[in-house]
């Protein structure tokens, strides 16, 4: 047998990893051909229409409003000089630190009959408001929550487009005698189309992935229905069918994204980035402009965070319990393990893709980022049905080894970590890939001509140079894992809690005060990561 060359070993390992990622997805596809259960008829005839309509309403309106908030604030921040501009520039990203499900129960707590808003109106101003007017637990409320906590995706991508690529066009328009409003509608908006579409499709993916908000608000969507069929009815085959339909939905979103972007990614103008000169405005006008992003920042970050701090304070007597420490450790533990696995895999696949510039490697990089467009509940069902099948196949071995548990893997933490791995590999992979891009291929090639094979080159040259990307990839993945809810709820072992599940469970049980601390911890960790990735990176 011929000895495998170093480069081929990398290809082989990558191939195996790719298969591992594809398996649960293929499994959904295969399960689709098993006969449907009787529940399915019922779901199809009576419930499906609801799921589809609700999902479309949520996606459509959240998309529209996110574009409104995101593009307008990006425009103001990049075009005008006004008080607090520098601070607001990155503060507007902070709403991303609050997972929508936490935002949902916080706002509900604020606005319901016993909440701060209504009690203040009642007790201090003696003003009785119709409670229904402030009822947030509806489709409208969900759109509000998604928009205010997810719009930063649109803001971030559009802002960086305005900053880096629009200066010439906008300045030309100015010299042609157009006023600000005309420039915004006729130049800025059309040229930033592909950035807006990219940001919006991220928002939509998050909406389709979400389970916490819709569950808490009692809205029927695909993800709540997948939960219900599995937990409520134990009906895997219907859950698989719903998952496949949801994937169809995601697929339509992805296709439209490609179509709306006009087949092009961001125009990569690597040469000379000309910064935009911001317009000086009068103090009065400046303060007026400031109000808009400031208000968004208040609603999207300050108000919910203050409310959570207040609740935590209220429950300070049982603040530091054994339970919360254990939960925090659980969260941290699974996050670290999953992040490490993801990092190792991302590095192996990205390195293989870089070395072998062919069709197969293009497929590899597509598969590696596949998971992020698949909603958590779908991945959960895919992994679950795969692992149950595996456990069934291994039953003989379990009996031989005298293991009493027929569902050894299904009931273990392995399943959850595997699912995190699939869902968040994309985040790690993208960071690592851009790290490799930054390094370029010259050092790799120089090392090869100096007698080092692919593996030695990797450890001696690539890895040390890749360090900054590795750190930020690790951080990003870790935060995502800690925030994750739907996957964790479906796949966690019995009695296993993370900060996210604990916060959600408390909130669902109307124990808002107890939910606050876990939520604050999640926000704090995410906030630090956001600060590091938006500000810290510049210093590298």
């Amino acid at each position: 047998m011929r000895k495998l060359s170093s480069a081929n070993i990398w290809s082989l390992i990558s191939f195996l990893l790719i298969i591992l990622i594809l398996l649960p997805n293929l499994n959904i596809f295969i399960e689709l051909f098993t006969p449907a259960s009787e529940n399915w008829e019922h779901i199809k005839n009576y419930l499906l229409q609801d799921y589809v309509t609700n999902s479309i309403i949520l996606v459509f309106f959240t998309g529209i409003f996110s574009i409104g908030l995101g593009v307008t604030s990006a425009w103001l921040i990049t075009q005008y000089d006004f008080p607090l501009r520098k601070f607001l520039k990155w503060a507007l990203v902070l709403p991303l630190a609050i997972p929508p499900y936490i935002g949902a129960y916080t706002y509900n707590g604020l606005l319901n009959y016993t909440g701060l808003v209504q009690t203040t109106l009642r007790n201090i101003f003696h003003f009785k408001i119709n409670p229904a007017a402030l009822d947030i637990m509806s489709l409208k409320g969900a759109v509000f929550i998604y928009t205010i906590f997810l719009f930063p995706y649109v803001y971030l991508i559009t802002r960086s487009f305005f900053e880096k690529q629009s200066a010439n066009l906008i300045e030309t328009a100015k010299t042609l005698g157009k006023n600000d409003l005309q420039i915004f509608w006729k130049v800025a908006l059309p040229i930033s189309r592909s950035s807006i579409v990219a940001g919006t499709s991220l928002v939509i993916m998050e909406v389709l992935n979400d389970y916490g908000v819709v569950k808490y608000f009692g809205i029927r969507t695909f993800s709540t229905s997948i939960f219900k069929t599995w937990f409520g009815m134990g009906d895997l085959s219907s859950a698989v069918r719903l998952s496949a339909l949801l994937m169809g939905f995601v697929f339509i979103v992805l296709i439209s994204e490609k179509f709306l972007r006009g087949g092009r990614k961001y125009s990569s103008s690597t040469s000379r980035i000309k910064p935009l000169t911001r317009k000086k405005v009068s103090n009065k006008k400046g303060i007026l402009i400031m109000m808009f992003p400031l208000l968004i920042f208040m609603v999207g970050f300050i108000i919910p965070t203050l409310q959570l701090i207040y609740w935590t304070w209220m429950s300070k007597s049982n603040l530091i319990s054994f339970e919360i420490i254990r939960t925090a450790f659980n969260s941290l533990g699974v996050a670290i393990i999953s992040s490490l696995l993801i990092l190792i895999t991302a590095v192996i696949i990205a390195n293989t893709v870089r070395i072998k510039d062919n069709l197969l490697s293009k497929v590899y990089s597509k598969v590696a980022v596949l998971g992020y467009s698949i909603p958590g509940a779908v991945i959960a069902i895919g992994v679950l049905s795969l692992v149950i099948t595996l456990d069934n196949k291994l039953e003989i071995i379990y009996t031989l080894l005298n293991i009493n548990n027929n569902l050894l893997i299904t009931s273990s933490i392995v399943m959850l970590i595997f699912a995190y791995f699939i869902r968040f590999l994309a985040i790690g992979y993208n960071s690592i890939e851009s790290g490799f891009d930054k390094i370029g291929s010259n050092f790799f090639e120089a090392s090869r001509t100096l007698g080092a094979n692919v593996t030695k080159t990797f450890f001696k040259i690539d890895l040390p140079m890749l360090k900054p990307s590795l750190y930020s990839a690790f951080l990003l993945v870790m935060v995502e894992v800690m925030k994750e809810l739907p996957l964790t709820l479906i796949l966690r072992p019995f009695n296993f809690n993370t900060l996210a599940t604990k916060a959600f469970e408390y909130a669902s049980d109307e124990m808002i005060h107890e939910a606050a601390l876990a939520s604050l911890l999640i926000i704090l960790i995410s906030g630090i990561a956001i600060y590091y990735t938006t500000n810290g990176r510049k210093k590298e």
Partner: protein, 236 residues
């Protein structure tokens, strides 16, 4: 012939057109050969093919009488023992000069140390061995890259546009330094350039390339007096 390329077909994955089509080239031993051509003529690709960084679709390459690229043969770059100096030098930024130079060295202990000293002496940078690449000038970086390539005792050195990154006013000094070092090292050299002055100053043997085809080749003086329109335009 020291290096023999025959009937090479090559195209880059991201390009539709064939860059080299039935390309053949012979490189003589112990000489400095310059491949002269405009950008996009395929000259750097020839170096990449010889060093093993690219694989041709068809054709074979012989080096020191051994087939290194053939129908079923492809010797990977790390096993060819061909030294290469990259256009931007590609000095490893996380290693100091000594570590850079010693990267490919197989010897250990005292022999290794001796080799380092010899090479540092050759490039006249003995005092700077603890420095990092970003702490030295472009000309010095080039010499380090050359020393690093020579450290693996190659029978052939390839230089990709060795002067393109240097200030014009330093160029002739650096060209002379390089010539001295190469002659002292006594190693067969191929370099590519788009500048006729580099070619006339350094090369014993000249190959003029246009659109992936050899226009003319031979001793520098002979090539210079070639009557074809393209060559005349090049040297006017």
């Amino acid at each position: 012939m020291f290096v023999m390329m025959k009937d090479i077909n090559f195209k880059y994955n991201n390009s539709d057109s064939q860059l080299l089509n039935g390309f053949s080239l012979n490189i003589p031993e112990d000489k400095i050969t310059c491949i002269l051509g405009a950008s996009g003529s395929g000259k750097s690709t020839i170096l990449r093919l010889i060093s093993g960084l690219e694989k041709p679709k068809k054709g074979f390459i012989k080096y020191k009488g051994q087939v290194i690229v053939g129908q079923n043969t492809f010797i990977p770059p790390e096993k060819r023992g061909v030294g290469m100096v990259f256009q931007d030098y590609a000095l490893f930024p996380h290693m100091n000069l000594a570590e850079n130079i010693l990267f490919g060295v197989k010897e250990t202990g005292r022999k290794k140390k001796k080799k380092l000293n010899q090479l540092l002496e050759l490039i006249d940078l003995k005092d700077l061995k603890e420095r990092y690449p970003h702490q030295i000038s472009g000309g010095q970086q080039q010499r380090v890259a050359l020393a690093r390539a020579l450290a693996i005792d190659p029978a052939l050195i390839l230089l990709d546009e060795p002067f393109s990154n240097l200030d014009a006013n330093l160029k002739s000094t650096i060209r002379n330094d390089l010539k001295k070092i190469l002659k002292k090292a006594g190693v067969t050299t191929v370099f590519v350039s788009h500048d006729k002055d580099d070619a006339l100053d350094l090369a014993d043997n000249l190959v003029v390339l246009k659109d992936g085809k050899i226009v003319t080749q031979g001793p520098a003086e002979t090539v210079k007096s070639d009557n074809s329109k393209y060559v005349k335009g090049l040297f006017s």
